[in-house]
Amino acid sequence: MGKGGFYLETKGPIIKFAIAEKFINLARANSIWPMTFGLACCAIEMMAAAMARFDIARFGAEVFRPSPRQADLMIINGTVTKKMAPTIVTLFEQMPSPKWVIAMGNCAISGGPFVFEGQYNIIEGIDKLIPVDVYVPGCPPRPEGLLEALMKLEEKITGTRRFPIPEQKW
């Protein structure tokens, strides 16, 4: 971004107790509220993850807040164009901390299929603009992919994993 990507100044809390912090982190991991925010194809799969079949509510993450002020998680679910980029950075900055970002889909990770010589309109990877916590590859990823990303994010917050990783059978 020509007009200057982002800068963040992070400060820890004023008072910090190790035990309290642990509990609050546990609470944070179990109550991740995503922001209502859709970009492209992956947004439909994000919606599907919130619907009856995949039901992201089981993990307490179905409270989609339309205002960034009340959200914890930003799911970048689609191609980030140069016109959209300042908006995304603004929205990310307007979220109160602690906040997390999931880059969902190849477009958000690297520009995906829309990278070619002479491209003039997309950002090749949202991590050039804002810090990303979990990447979900796929074009688009399945809703299960997003659920797994949520698990990964919980693991990142608390340090422990909710379910054991299933054995690979192939």
Binding site: F23, I24, L26, A27, R28, N30, S31, T36, M51, A52, D55, A57, R58, F59, G60, E62, V63, R65, P66, S67, R69, Q70, D72, Q94, P96, S97, P98, R162
Partner: protein, 325 residues
């Protein structure tokens, strides 16, 4: 005068403190319960499970939410009107707490039976309108502003049917004390004794007063993002949330007292009956939310003025007539 005050403080402090602790616990537990209930009910209506992994049946989910919101940064946008912006969440909580003074949970389970009980609730509930207006105006955000203005118009429009629907009951009991009103119903609940329509009017107006679907215009998500609390984050937002759920309970509790015989009922202890009735009504309000679309603003206002208020007038006249003729 001074002596009297000291006397009262000395005599009543124990009761006040016990009552306060009880009410505070009730408010917090109720809000946690209701958020859980809402998410579970919505889940089951929508053919999914709802919160499940956090604690047994997801029961710890609301606690996790609360703790998370506690550990969340509180942002104050730079161009808000700071005094108003700070005052709004404080104001919204006053009516919530004060209303519980007069609600009779059982024959002797009441903080204080004030003889103008219902007036206390009604008077203080007007504060929440003020709070929403302050929140909307103070935020300096256009969605908030529209949400707040809608909220005010809506609240004042539905306050009249609300008043008019409880008036017939007062005509029949000649008392404003909630406990007296319950006691009179030993002869029969008012919902069966002439006041069925009053109950309906009250309930509809109550749903509107608490800004719930189908009257949730102030926070209409598809139009106004998050409505009047768009700019509120962390704990301040949680207070709005807490107040909303407590308000639902208060509206249902007053309906229980006025029309459903309050704590009266066979076999079970009184407060159990009271909570059963109250939460049934709460569940119905939640059921509304997950079934109906939202009404439009003019429809909302006109529904009150064209249907509810005339109906309430007729109901009042009929009650007056039945009592006298």
């Amino acid at each position: 005068m001074m002596n009297e005050i000291i006397q009262i403080v000395g005599k009543e402090t124990v009761r006040v403190v016990i009552g306060l602790i009880g009410v505070l616990i009730l408010v917090v537990v109720n809000a946690l319960m209701l958020t859980w209930l809402e998410r579970k009910i919505s889940g089951h209506i929508q053919r999914r499970i709802g919160p499940k992994e956090v604690g047994p049946f997801g029961l710890i989910q609301p606690i996790a939410d609360g703790l998370k919101l506690l550990g969340k940064e509180i942002l104050t946008p730079s161009n808000v009107d700071k005094p108003l912006y700070f005052l709004a969440p404080v104001l919204i909580f006053i009516p919530v707490l004060v209303s519980f003074i007069v609600i009779p949970f059982d024959v002797c389970l009441q903080v204080k039976d004030i003889n103008v009980g219902i007036l206390v609730i009604l008077a203080f509930s007007s504060l929440s309108v003020l709070s929403i207006l302050l929140a909307g105006w103070g935020s300096n955000n256009k969605y908030s502003l529209i949400g707040a203005l809608r909220s005010v118009a809506q609240n004042i429009a539905y306050e009249i049917p609300l008043l008019l629907s409880i008036l017939p009951v007062i005509f029949m009991t000649n008392s404003l004390s909630l406990k007296d009103i319950v006691e009179v119903q030993r002869e029969g609940w008012f919902i069966w004794k002439w006041q069925f329509f009053a109950f309906l009017i009250y309930f509809i107006a109550g749903v509107a007063e608490t800004n719930r679907t189908p009257f949730d215009l102030p926070e209409a998500e598809s139009e106004l993002v998050a409505g009047f609390h768009t700019e509120y984050s962390g704990m301040r937002f949680a207070l709005f949330f807490l107040a909303e759920y407590t308000n639902i309970m208060i509206i249902s509790a007053v309906a229980t007292v006025f029309f459903l015989g309050g704590y009266l009922g066979p076999f079970l202890p009184g407060f159990v009956w009271f909570f059963i009735k109250t939460y049934l009504l709460v569940a119905v309000i939640m059921w509304f939310r997950w079934t109906f679309p939202r009404v439009r603003f003019d429809q909302l206002l006109n529904f009150s003025w064209k249907i509810l208020i005339p109906a309430a007038f007729i109901n009042l006249i009929v009650t007056g007539g039945l009592l006298k003729l």
